[in-house]
Amino acid sequence: MPEETILNDDFLRELMNVGEVDLLVGVPTYNDARTVGQVVQAIRSGLLKYFPRQRAAIINADGGSKDNTQELVRAASISDMHHADNLYALRTLHCISTRYTGTPSSGTALHTIMAASDLLRANACAVISPDSTSITPEWIQTLLQPVVNDVNDWVTPVYRRHKFEGLLIRNLLYPMNRAVYSSRVREPYPTDFAFSGRFASHVAGLDTWSEEAARVGAEMYLTIAAITGKFRIVQTYLGPKSRGEGAPADLVAAMRRSVGTLFWSLDSTFNIWSADLDPEPVVTIGPEHELDPEPLRFNRKRLHDMFARGVGELEPVLRSILSHSTLCQVQQVASSPEGELGYTDELWAHTVYEFAAAYHKSVISRDHIVQALAPLYRGRTYTFLAENRDNSPEALESNVEALCLAFERSKPYLLEMWNGRK
């Protein structure tokens, strides 16, 4: 049983005290003292306001913070003595914190939370990122309600974003995930999400948690598990997500967590995605996408330079990953003057699929493959920003849709690459 190894004795004792719950909210942390208190307070308020009768617990899985993160979480706990501000707690709301063993990773944290959810037989469970400072108590209702109603198993968020935020999702994760798995999940790499007890039981028992890709990119892995496991998926609109929140400081690390896991998942799910899949509509509660049209400044010159330099410096690596034709086209794009750079949808789809196939075949170190995609992604990002600089949200969304269609059209090419040469 996986929970026997992942739940230490102290944590198990605390879970015994919590007992069976209806709802569980998990907060994975690592040195998040700056924001975690605010987030836990909002979670607590949301539980008290919208689920006053349900048995609930907040569980913090911490990777060994050195900045009092765990103490702050525990301080937000409601004991017999305390009330939440302006809210009345009908019953005890436990808020417990555990330090999981091993190196900090979202996968271990989420695995801990899911094992706890499974053990406490939670009917519905939400996970909130500790840096989601734009959280309101309504998020808790919005995320959990679709599960509480016993209809859905996996709830992903839809945020109101600036039109130039979430670029990796718009340019790669959403289009490729949609094309490969025929599921239109807008945020396949969510940081705030919810799931059913049924789903938690299924996932907590999987053997793949020990694998690096599942550990570092657990959010992506869970979305794919929900899709490929035929769990009922819904998207729900949460409202604005503060600018910069969750933005990866390190692009390569972010790509390892998301793109790397997406590529990795293709191996074990080949039988599923290689078949002719009927497109699975995903119901969205609230707006499907909301974009903030305010201008946002980007250093496009820097993007262009990094792209051009990367293609040049990584040519030997790219040669082992990309087909000759694709590499030539990429090099041609990279040599374009700044104002004329155009990384087209078709070329980008082919590039990504060739990287995926190379990852499958491990033509070089898989980690190097993901790293090598980073400069090309910068080139694609440059094109996206340039194309949509003056676009309305609707026009931008139309461009995203066109990219998705390009990925879908190119799916046979992925299969060809997968099975074919190199």
Partner: protein, 546 residues
């Protein structure tokens, strides 16, 4: 058996609340009476209670089950005569049982001669004994208590062409306590019964004695002055007698009724009762610990009165809206079970006739700080009849045996004051004293044991309480201490088995002796004390340093 002479006897009391009409009919007229009640004193003595609280037995039109009194100096003819009451009182005292009677100070029946005189003309000397007004707009800040039946606290009197004030039913006009003659007369009423030998009064509806414009007409300082005056006279002329307040208020608002130990001896803890039911349903100690934390300390000579059920609805006035909704949904899904702001059900049906929950609730009743009250019939698990109007469904005849009229009366069943419980679950053939007396493991036998153990140590009635807060919120644990005696009470509020670790380091070195079986449990050491409890199980441990 002589009555113990301790002035604080009420702290050690286990009270049995009974309605004369409902208990035993000695003359086959279909209504219980004092002679019948006297015949059942041996039963009550055997049960182990040491105090009886009698509901109103005065002459009355009985439009509010006797709380509409038409004569304060006599006994309702259905229940006998004064001599019968006296004989019952003597019989109780001979068995070491004290008797508390109801005293409805706030209002009379509109059939009371005082009111008849008062309404007869504006010049009548008793006109000012009640609260009259030309308009129905005075005291607008006052809530209506019987929301289901009354639209206003004022009622038009067509005889004297004025409105009169009533906090309860419109046929219950409030007495005017601003009138010294009323105060003197009511003290005279109390003296009448004290001279006869009653041991105390349960004073009904005390917060409402006085009205003042611009207030909510509850808990006013003038009311406290009146109570203090009654108490002073009581202590001077009848030492050792007791006043019990019926004031359905929050603990902080109730606290003034104890004054500095110079108002009431006891007061009902109304907010605790619904929270015990809530805690049980939520499987969470929070509602109970929370309300007891909010309960202020009271003077040494005072005591809270605790109860699970009584003759009224399970009142939900002293809960928040969210708690009330929860209670309704969990305990009164059928809307016919709801009345005013409460639930008109008995203990056993409220707890789904689950013996474990009934025992747990009684265990808490007997071990939390205060004097417990057992409502007649709850010791055998009687049911209720929500098809009867008002609160009559919880006032059906006591079920003595499985024979004619459940042993309550030899009258024709059709002539009983109330239909008997007949259904196969709660009917008198299934639930009755005689059948439960035959078995050691019946609820009745268990209640006797519980009361006997409760009475064996003064710590239950007089001890302090220290809540333990184990991490398992389903477990309610506390230590009661009085002098050298200490008991540990551990209650599992949940429907499943629980493990709990108790921090008992303060009691290190003590052994635990389980009070029902007298078995010894391991000595307390430095480590958390681990206990496991079955569903709804509770323990009473005596802590002994041997």
């Amino acid at each position: 058996m002589p009555l113990p002479q301790d002035a604080l006897w009420y702290k050690d009391a286990v009270v049995y609340q009974v309605h004369v009409r409902a208990f035993y009919d000695s003359n086959a007229d279909g209504r219980g009476d004092f002679r019948g009640l006297a015949q059942k004193l041996d039963y009550l003595q055997d049960l182990g209670i040491n105090t009886i609280w009698l509901m109103p037995f005065f002459p009355s039109p009985l439009r509010d089950d006797g709380y509409d009194i038409a004569d304060y100096h006599s006994v309702h003819p259905s229940y006998g005569v004064l001599e019968d009451f006296k004989a019952f009182l003597d019989g109780a005292h001979q068995r070491g049982i004290r008797v508390i009677i109801e005293m409805v100070l706030n209002h009379t029946s509109d059939q009371h001669p005082w009111f008849q005189e008062s309404r007869s003309s504006h010049d009548n000397p008793k006109r000012d004994w009640y609260v009259w007004s030309d308009t129905d707009t005075r005291y607008r800040g006052t809530r209506i208590i019987f929301l289901d039946t009354e639209l206003s606290n004022w009622a038009w009197d067509p005889v004297s062409k004025q409105y009169y004030w009533h906090r309860f039913f419109s046929h219950q006009p409030d007495l005017n306590y601003d009138n010294p003659a009323v105060r003197e007369t009511m003290w005279g009423v109390m003296k009448f019964w004290l001279d006869m030998g009653v041991d105390g009064f349960r004073l009904d509806a005390v917060p409402y004695l006085v009205e003042r414009e611009g207030t909510n007409c509850e808990n006013l300082p003038e009311t406290h002055v009146i109570i203090q005056d009654f108490r002073r006279r009581l202590d001077e002329e009848y030492p050792g007698r007791m006043l019990l307040a019926e004031a359905n208020q929050w603990p902080a608002d109730l606290r003034p009724y104890f004054g500095g130990g110079n108002e009431f001896h006891m007061a009902f803890h109304f907010p605790l009762m619904p929270r015990m039911f809530m805690g049980l349903k939520l499987e969470d100690r929070k509602p109970i610990t929370e309300i007891l934390q909010q309960t202020p300390a009271i003077p040494e000579n005072c005591q809270w009165c605790l109860f699970l059920r009584n003759h009224d609805e399970l009142t939900l006035e002293m809960v928040t809206d969210i708690e009330r909704d929860y209670m309704y949904d969990e305990y009164a899904k059928d809307r016919s079970m709801r009345l005013n702001l409460g639930i008109r059900r008995r203990l056993a049906p409220l707890l789904d006739n689950d013996r474990r929950r009934i025992e747990l609730m009684n265990g808490m009743l007997m071990s939390l700080p205060g004097t417990p009250i057992v409502y007649y019939g709850d010791e055998i698990g009687m049911g209720d009849n929500v098809n009867l109007g008002d609160r009559n469904g919880v006032r059906t005849p006591m079920q003595w045996d499985g024979g004619w009229n459940g042993g309550f009366s030899t009258a024709d069943p059709e002539s009983l004051y109330s239909p008997l419980m007949l259904n196969p679950v709660y009917g008198y053939q299934a639930v009755n004293v005689q059948s439960q007396k035959r078995f050691d493991h019946s609820l009745l036998s268990w209640m006797k044991r519980l009361i006997r153990i409760r009475k064996s140590l003064a710590v239950f009635g007089r001890g302090s309480i220290e809540f333990l807060y184990p991490a398992n919120h389903r477990v309610l644990a506390y230590v009661r201490q009085y002098g050298k005696d200490a008991i540990l009470v551990v209650n599992n509020l949940s429907s499943s088995a629980q493990a709990v670790e108790l921090d008992l380091r303060h009691y290190k070195g003590n052994i635990l002796i389980e009070m029902f079986g007298r078995n010894i449990f391991p000595r307390i050491g430095d480590l958390p004390y681990l206990l496991t409890l079955g569903p709804y199980q509770f323990y009473w441990f005596r802590l002994r340093k041997i």
